[in-house]
């Protein structure tokens, strides 16, 4: 119990300190663009009613999840193919490096031309940005499957789907998760950016809307909501990762103890 409280303290200490600092620093502020935290927090419940959560937060999260899921499926599938064949890799690698280097926000106007200004465009923008870290990490992970493991699988006639499911993807899973983690933060950024162009709802849209109508404390509450959303998603991600990669963390802990 004491240990638990101590750990809780360590988790909460720094955020509490930062909030306190913000509170104190902004307390006497008369700057319109820099309202006291007290005002922002007082505005929060008025702005983020359940109706607004439904009309702005839910659509944003759904778009994010759709884009992220599409990127995960495409990234892992393509990455597995590219990682498995040396020739395919040699052909694809330069192209991939180029495509990865293009900043995804710059694609928004282009994607708008093809996909219009609806949800499809936003999902396409999110997916097109998220797919690269997932794809490249999957390529690396699949390529680096241990040779002895691969030979073991071959000698026992483990081929095709069974090999992919039980050996290759599992062996690559630590790398794939590293890619998924990077993609998550990219996804949140692109979710907001895509909603700043030609949108009629969503978090990004709302925040810009508040800013343009000089509802500054409301704008700040939107930023807080975004932060909280990002935090929550990363907690969920960690829970999933700990479950799927439990073996990997255990293995690492063992090999650290006895080098």
């Amino acid at each position: 119990m004491r240990l638990f409280l101590l750990r809780l303290f360590f988790v909460v200490a720094l955020p509490a300190l930062l909030v306190a600092l913000w509170w104190l620093a902004s307390d006497g502020s008369t700057n319109v663009y820099w309202p006291p935290l007290r005002t922002i927090l007082r505005t929060f419940p008025d702005v983020w009613t359940s109706e607004r959560l439904r009309s702005d937060l839910v659509p944003s999260v759904l778009r994010l999840l759709a884009g992220y899921a599409a990127a995960a499926v495409v990234g892992v599938a393509l990455g597995t193919v590219i990682g498995s064949y040396r020739r395919v890799r040699a052909v694809c690698e330069p192209v991939l490096e180029f495509l990865r280097a293009v900043p995804p926000p710059v694609l928004v106007p282009v994607i708008m031309l093809f996909a219009g200004i609806g949800d499809t465009m936003k999902i396409a923008v999110i997916a097109s940005g998220c797919v690269w870290p997932i794809l490249l990490n999957t390529v690396e992970g699949v390529r680096a499957v241990d040779s002895v493991m691969a030979e073991t699988a071959r000698s026992y006639g483990i081929t095709g789907v069974a090999r992919l499911r039980s050996v290759v993807l599992r062996a690559a899973s630590p790398q794939i998760f590293a890619g998924l983690r990077q993609a998550l933060s990219i996804g949140i950024i692109l979710m907001v950016i895509s909603e700043m162009f030609a949108a009629s709802n969503g978090l990004g849209f709302t925040i810009v809307q508040f800013q343009r109508s000089f509802a500054i404390p409301d704008m700040w509450t939107g930023i807080l909501v975004l932060g909280l959303l990002g935090f929550l998603l990363s907690v969920v991600f960690q829970l999933v990762e700990r479950r799927v990669l439990g073996w990997y963390h255990g293995l690492r802990a063992v090999s650290r103890r006895s080098p």
Binding site: V148, S155, I158
Partner: protein, 270 residues
């Protein structure tokens, strides 16, 4: 079942980046059904290459391997492999039970039968209690036992073992040697056991094949005329054991010097 392995004229050349390495020059020998044969040779003499060719993991440059009169062109279903690097051969994301079961899923077996084979194999190697553990939670010796259990559950006619005990400590090694001999006598599997340890080869084998230094040929085939009943304590101090190991040792020294002048193959010591 007659699971004889015939290796004839086997040659393997690695080519790449301007270098041409002849790992195995010309190997011809036979392993009879139900035999336990040990392969020894100086380090770097292509033992692993040979074993991989026999297991269908590598394609020989020339010559062929026949299992029960059928040429081996890929990993044959009746063959199981135990690798030296147990830590890299077991899948760390699977528990011991799942590791042993995975190869069986490729066979047309009922779930109940699979479970039976898994538990039976784990019992044979004395690891029933570890079925739910992850391999990396076990000691090196136990991990290699899991790998052996996986091979047993597969019900192979031929078991190929590539220096399986090179990475475990001496006491564990002795236990594992007795385990392999016990399993061999119990189950009648044909075993080809590659090692660089002369004592191990003589202690385990019914026959010892001594390979020359690379490029590899068979230097000598030696029948081990020790009693079937062997144990670490008495067999290893028997005068006959000492004679045999001295002979193998001399042969390997000769092989290292590059001489194949040690007389005709298949000679029996007198």
């Amino acid at each position: 079942m007659h699971a004889s392995l015939v290796v004839s004229g086997l040659n393997k050349v690695y080519e790449g980046s301007g270098r041409r390495v002849e790992a195995v020059r010309d190997l011809t020998f036979t392993v009879e059904a139900g035999e336990l044969v040990c392969l020894v040779g100086p380090s770097g003499c292509g033992k692993t290459t040979l074993l991989k060719c026999m297991g269908g993991l590598l394609t020989p440059t020339a010559g062929e391997v026949r299992l029960n009169d059928r040429p081996v062109s890929g990993p044959p279903p009746g063959m199981a492999f135990v690798f030296q690097e147990y830590g890299r051969s077991l899948f760390p994301w699977m528990r011991v039970r799942e590791n042993v079961e995975l190869p069986l899923k490729q066979k047309p077996l009922s779930k109940a039968r699979r479970r039976e084979l898994v538990m039976d194999a784990l019992e044979s190697v004395g690891l029933t209690d570890a079925a739910g553990a992850y391999p990396w939670q076990l000691s090196g010796g136990m991990q290699q036992r899991v790998a052996i259990a996986r091979a047993l559950a597969y019900e192979p006619a031929v078991l190929l073992m590539d220096e399986p005990f090179a990475a475990v400590d001496a006491q564990t090694r002795a236990d594992l040697e007795d385990l392999v001999r016990g399993l061999w006598r119990e189950r009648g599997i044909t075993i080809l056991f590659v090692t660089h340890d002369i004592d191990e080869a003589v202690y385990l084998g019914e026959r010892v094949l001594i390979l020359s230094a690379s490029p590899t040929v068979v230097q000598e085939q030696l029948k081990v005329d020790l009693p079937d009943e062997r144990d670490q304590l008495h067999t290893r101090v028997a005068p006959r054991f000492a004679e045999l190991r001295t002979h193998v040792y001399e042969q390997i020294q000769a092989a290292k010097r590059g001489g194949t002048d040690a007389g005709p193959p298949e000679k029996t010591l007198t």
